[in-house]
């Protein structure tokens, strides 16, 4: 660790950034005891992870807080930096000798900008002011863009201001590595910002991971809940998937992480006898979660994650049994049967062949098709007689001949989210029985290794 060339590091050699520093001469004339009048001496911050080198370096001279007084208190840059340093400790009151020295270091680093060294006569006045300045503007500085560039790159434990931009780069790096594999040192490399230390990254990563868990938990819960609503309520539960986007984003780091402990994310209420089978779904669940969370983070912290390919297809509504779309086959059959000899029909019918399946209220498109029918042949008026009877027939349980797209969507949904509860909840067959039967059929094992 390089020294500032004041106490430990030697005149100007180690202090590559401080060519202007006079060295010990100034220091000797400083009365350090007055510096920290307002600061509690003694206990070092508990959560402090100080490099002992820095401490030692500062302790060498008569005052580890050597440099604090070497500037005008009115110099905001110093204060800002000092504040940042102190902020990082979270408790300004506890600035012991260490933090003071840290302040000093931060302040000192700012000195390399070529600031003049204020004469030491001012030291005592500025001391008190420094203390107050350190304490008071702390809040105002919270939202400031990181001025970490003023500090020595990476060499001091500077308070890092996790701006949205910075956080975005962090998340990018983490994603690149993979959340679980993301190691602070690698993240640091990828981010390529000098002023961050591994420690900064590590603590931020920890917070990020815990926050993500909450997000995922909430997402899973809402997803399973909305899916259940889709299946059993028949109401378009699109909001379940879409609404998640209003969730709280990754909050500003300085505020902390609000989400209260969430109930366990899993376990949509499945029939009890399915629970044992449910367990295996977890690995894929995590995988799916990996896909889910970017959706939440994307809007707010101005992340540009592409949305994952799959999302609960909102249009997936295997029509509930009470769906009055029975007349569909009417149209479809018409097409099938009349095609050879009826040039009129295929045109009007074909586009409406499977309209209902895509709508949550399938009753509507059929009506429009009927209308179309009528329009085309209104002069004949034959159709109108057919319509009422068709609609007054007893409703069949569901619509027939679902479109390929809806089948595909339904199947895809099952394949991608195996943990979802069974829509009908039929009593499952005995595994042994199935396997036995399969063996007899000549299928030795499932899942088949060669599909």
């Amino acid at each position: 660790m390089e020294g500032f060339g004041i106490g430990g590091g030697g005149g100007g050699g180690g202090g590559d950034d401080f060519p202007d520093f006079m060295g010990e001469n100034l220091l000797d004339s400083i009365d350090f005891d007055d510096l920290f009048v307002g600061i509690n001496d003694g206990d070092i911050l508990p959560d402090l992870e100080m490099d002992t080198e820095i401490l030692a370096e500062f302790s060498v001279s008569s005052g580890d807080e050597s440099d604090v007084n070497n500037y005008s208190s009115s110099n905001n840059t110093f204060i800002t930096t000092a504040i940042k340093n102190v902020e990082r400790k979270e408790e300004i009151e506890k600035t012991g000798s260490f933090s003071a020295s840290d302040v000093g270091s931060g302040l000192t680093t700012s000195l390399n900008q070529g600031e003049e060294i204020v004469s030491t006569q001012k030291s005592e006045e500025s001391t008190l002011q420094v203390n107050q300045n350190i304490i008071t503007p702390k809040e105002s500085d919270k939202g400031k863009k990181s001025s970490k560039n003023n500090n020595l790159p990476g060499k001091r434990k500077v308070k890092v201001d996790w701006t949205p931009e910075l956080h975005r780069r962090f998340v990018q790096a983490v994603e690149q590595l993979g959340v679980d594999k993301a190691v602070p040192s690698r993240i640091l490399e990828i981010m390529g910002i000098d002023c961050l230390t591994r420690h900064n990254i590590a603590s931020h990563l920890q917070k990020y991971r815990s926050h993500r868990k909450h997000l995922l938990a909430r997402e899973a819960e809402a997803a399973s809940w909305s899916h259940r609503r889709q299946l059993y309520g028949g109401a378009p539960a699109v909001g379940g998937g879409g609404g998640k986007r209003e969730m709280n984003p990754w909050p500003a780091p300085t505020i902390g992480f609000p989400p209260p402990p969430l109930p366990p994310p899993m376990a949509p209420p499945m029939p009890h006898h399915f629970r044992p089978l449910h367990v295996w779904g977890h690995p894929s669940v995590d995988q799916s979660y990996m896909h889910i969370w970017p959706k939440h983070l994307a809007p707010s912290p101005s992340l540009q994650h592409p949305s994952p390919a799959w999302a609960p297809p909102p249009h997936l509504h295997p029509s509930p049994p009470s769906d009055p779309s029975f007349w569909h086959p009417h149209h479809q059959r018409v097409q099938n049967s009349l095609t050879p000899g009826t040039p009129y029909f295929p045109a009007p019918i074909a586009p409406t062949r499977y309209p209902a399946v895509h709508h949550p209220v399938p009753g509507i498109p059929p009506v429009s098709s009927h209308g179309m029918y009528k329009v085309d042949h209104s002069n004949i008026g034959v159709r109108s007689t057919a319509t009422p009877p068709a609609q007054s027939l007893p409703k069949p349980p569901c619509d027939f001949h679902p479109s390929k797209e809806s089948i595909d969507a339904a199947i895809g949904d099952v394949l991608s989210k195996p943990w979802l509860p069974l829509p009908l909840g039929l009593k499952p067959p005995a595994v042994d029985s199935v396997l036995g039967e399969l063996q007899r059929q000549g299928v030795p094992k499932i899942p088949p290794t060669c599909a």
């Binding site: 399915f274 089978l277 295996w280 779904g281 894929s284 295997p318 029975f326 007349w327 086959p329 009417h330 059959r333 018409v334 049967s337 009349l338 000899g341 009129y344 029909f345 042949h377 004949i380 034959v382 159709r383 057919a386 068709a390 027939l393 069949p396 349980p397 569901c398 619509d399 027939f400 679902p402 809806s406 089948i407 339904a410 199947i411 895809g412 099952v414 394949l415 195996p418 979802l420 069974l422 829509p423 009908l424 909840g425 039929l426 009593k427 499952p428 067959p429 005995a430 595994v431 029985s433 199935v434 396997l435 039967e437 399969l438 059929q441 299928v443 094992k445 499932i446 899942p447 088949p448």
Partner: protein
């Protein structure tokens, strides 16, 4: 997807249930699963049969309602056919009339 036989069977059951919701026939279901999920038909058949064994009542009702639906479908089909041919006849008649009137 499932790595164990049990989970695989579970998945196939889930898929079949989805098809049932669509009121597909067994054959349609087999085809759909084979096409969209790469499930061998023999597996689908077996699981379907086993499910039927375990849920006889359901499948009986399902078959019944399916038949009913088919009947409705057929009826509607016939109706449509009748309508269509009637319409065509009418059109032809109109056309003839127009021609005749033109000549006159």
């Amino acid at each position: 997807m499932g790595d164990s036989p049990a989970s695989y069977i579970y998945m196939v059951q889930h898929l079949i249930e989805k098809c049932l919701i669509f009121h597909m026939t067994k054959e349609e279901c087999i085809e759909a699963l084979s096409k969209h999920a790469n499930i061998k038909s023999v597996i689908t058949v077996t699981v379907w049969n086993e499910l039927e064994k375990e849920n006889r009542e359901f499948f009986e009702a399902y078959a019944k309602s399916h038949n009913k639906n088919r009947a409705i479908e057929a009826k509607a089909e016939v109706e449509a056919e009748v309508e269509a041919s009637t319409m065509i006849q009418k059109l032809l008649l109109d056309h003839d009339h127009t021609k005749k009137s033109d000549r006159e």
